[in-house]
């Protein structure tokens, strides 16, 4: 049936159109309920599917957060353990250094004390007394005489002897006192020595006390991390972010150094391995230069591992000390050889560059200005070539920091992305649902005359108008739990662990 035929069902086209409109509205009115149900079902399917997806993503995010926290705590514990271990090492070193010599100090102290004791005993000697017969003479001298000259002479002689003896006794006493003072003077260095020794012991004790306080502090932190407190997690997270940023910055600087290093040796390497062969899309000489730099980096890594500065390879750290020392010597020697090779390559590079410059000038027809290259750039390049490998060896430290902190940072980034994904899934679900409602409302708007008539008829019959499904308030809560909730996952996981 063509459009023209449709307009010809009555004599009047307007009447035909009106009839068709009425029929169309009637058809739409009768199809209203199934249409509403279909659209709403479809929109709910979309919403529920997407919200279920969002819930699943949120669950994954939760698990990731737990995992991140575990990683963070494990890293924090390891770090705290390392700090405590280092402090204990320092205490052990201090104890070994200070108290190892304690028996010696003790012996010295004993000797000094014995010496002091002897000196003290010596200084305590009784001063020489007057002769025993002095009181007898003194009593004779006190006898009164009757003027007999013989007695007088005798007494005068006794008096003189007595005076002489007195003088001598005083002199002896003074000498004895001076000798004791001299002994006491000799005691002074021993006192000082004793004081110094005791001061040294006190200083050592104080140092150990300080270390013990540091250990206590570290142990407190360790306990907090072990307890898994939120404050510890926050502190560790902030610390990880800072470490990540710093390590990334230092690594960027190291990459800059490696590029300079590469440019120093790429050209002379073409003199050794040829400049026209390729490995894949890269020149063999460039690859060789890169390999040398990578070998240097590896040697640096091994050296740092052997020195127990980094812990990227636990197997190296776990080696016995003898083997580790051998490894230190081997890696350092290889690094030194490679640095020497680089220095030689830098020299060769300077020569080749100079030769090329001369050729370029010749080709350009420029007059040779008696180019005598300055030795300063040559020496500079050689020194740079020698130093850079050693400098690159220290990349191991920021690299370890970067690897350790990137686990936390990447985990946090992934969690954020999952949260964002969940948000967009929910947003799309809601958009889908409300689009369905919008379509239903538009449908009702198109057939409003039929609905209006239905309302009039039902009102006249006293019946309640049934609200279309789109207008029923959506008060039912949507379950946003994933099939495998977090609690369920933990329950499943625990026995496995």
């Amino acid at each position: 049936m063509t459009f023209a035929n449709m307009l010809n069902i009555t004599n009047s086209p307007a009447l035909s159109i009106l009839i068709w409109i009425v029929l169309f509205l009637l058809a739409l009115y009768f199809a209203r309920r199934p249409f509403h149900q279909a659209v709403m079902s479809f929109s709910k399917i979309i919403r529920n599917a997407l919200r279920l997806g969002a819930a699943s993503v949120l669950s994954a995010e939760k698990r990731l957060l737990v995992r991140n926290r575990e990683v963070l705590m494990a890293a924090g514990l390891e770090n705290a353990e390392r700090i405590v271990e280092r402090e204990f090492d320092r205490i052990a070193a201090a104890v070994t250094r200070d108290l190892e010599s304690y028996p010696n100090v003790h012996r010295q102290l004993s000797e000094v004390i014995v010496k002091l004791d002897e000196d003290y005993t010596n200084s305590a000697d009784v001063p020489p007394s007057l002769p025993n017969w002095m009181p007898i003479i003194e009593s004779i001298a006190k006898i009164e005489h009757s003027g007999d000259s013989m007695v007088a002479n005798m007494l005068a002689e006794i008096n003189r002897s007595l005076t002489e003896q007195n003088k001598k006794a005083i002199e002896d006493y003074r000498n004895s006192t001076a000798a004791r003072h001299a002994i006491l003077n000799k005691m002074m260095p021993f006192w000082r020595k004793l004081e110094r020794s005791l001061d040294g012991i006190a200083s050592s004790m104080s140092n150990i006390k300080k270390r013990a306080k540091t250990v206590d502090r570290c142990m407190d932190q360790y306990e907090k991390i072990r307890a898994g407190s939120d404050s510890a997690a926050r502190a560790l997270s902030t610390s990880a972010l800072t470490q990540f940023a710093i390590a990334a910055l230092v690594l960027l600087i190291a990459i800059g150094g490696a590029i300079i290093n590469f440019n120093l040796i790429a050209l002379p390497m073409s003199e050794m391995v040829g400049g026209a062969s390729y490995i894949g899309p890269f020149k063999t000489s460039d690859v060789a230069g890169l390999v040398i730099i990578l070998v240097e980096l590896t040697m640096g890594l091994f050296l740092m591992e052997s020195l127990r500065i980094t812990r990227l390879f636990p197997i190296i750290g776990a080696m016995d000390d003898k083997m580790r020392h051998r490894m230190i010597i081997i890696t350092f020697t290889l690094l030194a050889i490679l640095a020497g090779v680089e220095s030689a390559l830098a020299f060769m590079r300077d020569r080749i560059a100079h030769d090329m410059e001369v050729l370029r000038q010749t080709l350009a027809g420029a007059e040779q200005m008696g180019l005598s290259p300055s030795i300063i750039p040559t020496v500079g390049q050689m020194v740079l070539g020698f130093i850079l490998p050693f400098a690159l060896a220290f990349v191991a430290i920021p690299l370890e920091m970067f690897v350790a902190s990137s686990r936390t940072v990447l985990g946090a980034g992934m969690a954020w992305l999952l949260r964002l994904l969940a948000f967009f899934l929910r947003l799309l679900g809601n958009i889908g649902f409300y689009t369905g409602r919008f379509i239903v409302n538009i449908y009702d708007l198109a057939i409003f005359p039929a609905i209006w008539l239905e309302g009039i008829i039902l009102t006249s019959k006293g019946k309640k108008i049934a609200l279309p499904e789109a207008e029923i308030p959506e008060d039912s809560k949507l379950v946003e739990e994933a099939v495998d909730s977090y609690e369920e996952t933990i329950k499943i996981k625990e026995p496995q662990e």
Partner: protein, 215 residues
Amino acid sequence: MKKLFAIAVVLCLLIAGCTDTKSRSTGVYMLLDTSGTYAVELKKAQKILNYLLGILAPGDTLAVARIDTGSFSEKDIVSKVTFDERPSVANNQKRAFMQQVEAFVTKVKGSPYTDISGGILQAIEYLNEAESGKKYILIFSDLKEELAKGYKRDIPFQLPDYNVIALNVTKLRGDNIDPKEYMARVEDWRAKVEKGGGDWGMVNDLERLDNIFAN
């Protein structure tokens, strides 16, 4: 022992697999027109050659040949070299090459005829043998071909993967009177090259020599 052998074989295969067998070297064959009217332009050709020596890398091939009455001959090759892979040796080769070209330019005598086609055929033969990855034939000429009686050059060129670049295509007296002649001459060569599968280019401004290897 068998395991070790197997590992060694696998390693060798891996290394061989990584090695790129495709040639990345550049081969340049430069034809110098020595006909009477054009011989005076050879100093410019020397500058171009110096430029080429400056930019060609170790492993590249460079040959210079003259265009004379019969150019399809190895005798017309003035100088040829494949640069050593070591830069220092390559530099010495470049110096020697430069001196040979200088000697040629100083002593060259004009030829009565101009066999450009023969020169191109010789260039194709040479560069095919050199197995260069990128092949360039540079024609330093006014492109006016004049063959001696009896010389036949109606052979189509086989120029796939070739870049043929005309350099310093000077205008002849007749071209000034009727530019169509010049255009027809250039067009004729372009058609011949493209029919053979090659790419055609022209650089008249010697300040823009970097356009030679622009592609």
